[in-house]
Amino acid sequence: MFEPAQQNGSPRIGFYVCHCGHNIAGKVDVTAVAQAVARFPGVVLSRDYKYMCSDPGQQMIMDDIREQKLDRVVVASCSPLLHEHTFRTAVARGGLNAFHFQMVNIRENVSWVHDDPADATEKAVDLARAAVRRVRLHRALEQKKVPITPAVLIVGGGIAGIHAALTLASAGKKVYLVEKEPTIGGHMAKFDKTFPTLDCAACILTPKMSAVRSHPNITLWTYSEVTKVEGFVGRYRVTVKRKPRYVIEELCVGCLECIEACVFKEGKFYDEFNQGLGKRKPVYIPFPQATPQLVLIDPEQCIEFKSGKCKKTCAEKCDRDAIDFKQTERIEQIEVGAVIVATGFQTVPSEKVPFYGYGRMPNVFTALEVERLVNASGPTGGQVVTREGKAPKAVGIIHCVGSRDEKTNRWCSRVCCMYSLKLAHLIKEHTGAEVFNFYTDMRTAGKGYEEFFYKVMDDGVHFIRGRVAEVSDWAFTPDEEGKLVIRVEDTLIGRVRRVPVDMVVLATGLEPGPDSQQIRRLFNMSCSSEGFFLERHPKLAPVDTFTDGVYIAGACQSPKDIPDTVAQAGAAAAQVLALIDAGSKELEPNTAYIVEEECSGCKSCIALCPYTAISFDAARKKALLNEALCKGCGTCVASCPSGSIRQNLFQDDEIFSEIEGLLTPVT
């Protein structure tokens, strides 16, 4: 039935147990493990060593293979998700097939999670026994290489996506940048200044936006969404839906005369870019520096779409006939070797923090709204005013809104302390108002950040340490009449204070975007418990995901500021370059195959394969498995009634031997 697992005679297995410093040895009696394993049949050598993954540790394996004529190796150390590759490489360098190796996880699965040393040691021995039994059956396997298409999809056109796109494009790679909004620029485009240097956000961002637009290697699709991803690393086939703008891209020059000519004389609709503080017309451009410089029409609002009876003054005015009310969505199909997901974040919706009164009391603002107020091209032309249009005399900035809070999000959003300082400075500069910061802790770690904090303190901005209980509009004393009152326990003086202000700014935290779950499924990524995309390793693989060829950058991975986002985008681009320039990528050989003579032709496997890798050869009445399409889940293997489907790396006999090894009574 099976090809014999061993070539000649009894196996010669080398076993190694790692101390991992105290990480393992502090709980598991590694000497006892090595001694116990030495007695298992087939084990010719059993050692313990401080750090198996270190260079001397790996060297030891290689030397033993040669000197002791080992033909199988088992290492008991950390998770295979961390170091399986390391040891397979060492085994191969020692002269064996890389897959004549099995790893035992006695750190994450044992020493870190169990208290009793005796139990931990017993479990480590059981796991080692299972691996020793299993490894005897391991077959020599070849890894297939797949070529890498030298093209990259970048999802999200914020500063992360822009930076990664430009880096890859200037290295000569083809880049498809897909953005769901009508313009690239993301959140950064809405900011007035950036901390701690107070550079104007537009001045540093818009040149990069136009570079994206004009770069010959970048195809920019805004107002577009990825709808389907198929294939695997090196060859992802991606479907992109491009929503209709009702404006012919090739003809529109962005003169904006159509907007002027619209039958709506004034803006009437929620202006997304200005957080609703301004109004726009149904035909609009998100903001003056929008990239691409193309107008679009909102069919939900345009009279022509609603009634078909508009005078269509916009179209009349356009001497290039760029307006096309009949435009439909377009579907693009592309093939790329790798993907960078840079889909950013959303600010915590203010409904989640009802006690601060956003929506009930008009002069409670979000920080993003204030960014637009202080911006010279914003809805008030840079005037920081209340909703009644008055300059505030006192402004309260509440930190940690929807951050570090059991009721909303437990994490620190990392950027709010700094952007609150920036806004405090700008508000003071624009209005001369007294500005109060209500903070939990000031977190100003970063180059030049602490210095900026001191500068803002020197400006005369007030800092009150305490979590704000509520914002209300009830007056207890005459000076509170007509004001918003911030009630807070000042934890430095140990008293409850009531601070009357004219304007409240909520420093809302960062959380995963509204469509993050959808994006996660699309690209087969995992999320960490907060819902941000999960990196392959928090320290050593911060931009990789568990899906080969899919990388992440920016705030979709965790809250981060612009410098960190740009650094991460650069890192993701470098990873992609390394992948593309290597030309090919070795695949895990865990695919399934069919032993034809045993196949009864029952077809039960065919419907089970989600990748349509199995077909039916009607002439020979046998199932056929296309290994190139197989992703190696093993579902068909478990379902085959005749046992004719096998899976490399996870053969039935290998798993049975593992079960047997685990459950053999300890003598």
Binding site: S79, P80, L81, L82, N105, R107, E108, N109, V110, W112, V113, H114, D115, D116, D119, A120, E122, K123, D126, L127, A130, R521, N524, S526, C527, S528, S529, L534, F546, N590, L608, P610, K631, G632, C633, G634, T635, V637, A638, S639, Q647, F650, D652, I655, F656, E658, I659, E660, L662, L663, P665
Partner: protein, 177 residues
Amino acid sequence: MSAHVAAREGAAPRAEWKPRVVAFFCNWCTYTAADLAGVSRLKHSPHFRIIRVMCSGRVDPQFVMDAFARGADAVLIGGCHPGDCHYMEGNYNCLRRFHLLQRMLGQMGIEKERFRLEWISASEGERVKTVVNSLVEDVVRLGPLALPGRLREWDREIDHLEAAVSERHEEATSHAR
């Protein structure tokens, strides 16, 4: 019934007995979650052993039966949440088999608490801990399954029956003569 009693008698005394749970965890969600439990140092019961498979869909019912037959007191399968399977729908296939298998095991006298399927995503390290602890708690309450002893007892019973039948048969034929 007699088999049941024999099994209980044949098992190790309760005081020395340690439950043995075999866990089949999928590589992408539950195994990663178990790693996260480790990284987060979430202490939990040591009486379970993980076997890593690529997908919960790979778990052949025979693996489960084999584990019980070799003396596991419980079997746990861990996979990605519905809709989140790394291989799109392997976990649904696992679910279908799970229900059939659980019913079948029940007919063999294996309580349903001893065979569990849990969806645990990569971020749910905490859930690995609670699931494992609650399963081990259930097993401790139920006591040893000791299926190997029971199987031996069943074999003996069947031998006995067979012997009795053939005796009767011989008697009958000799009578006829």
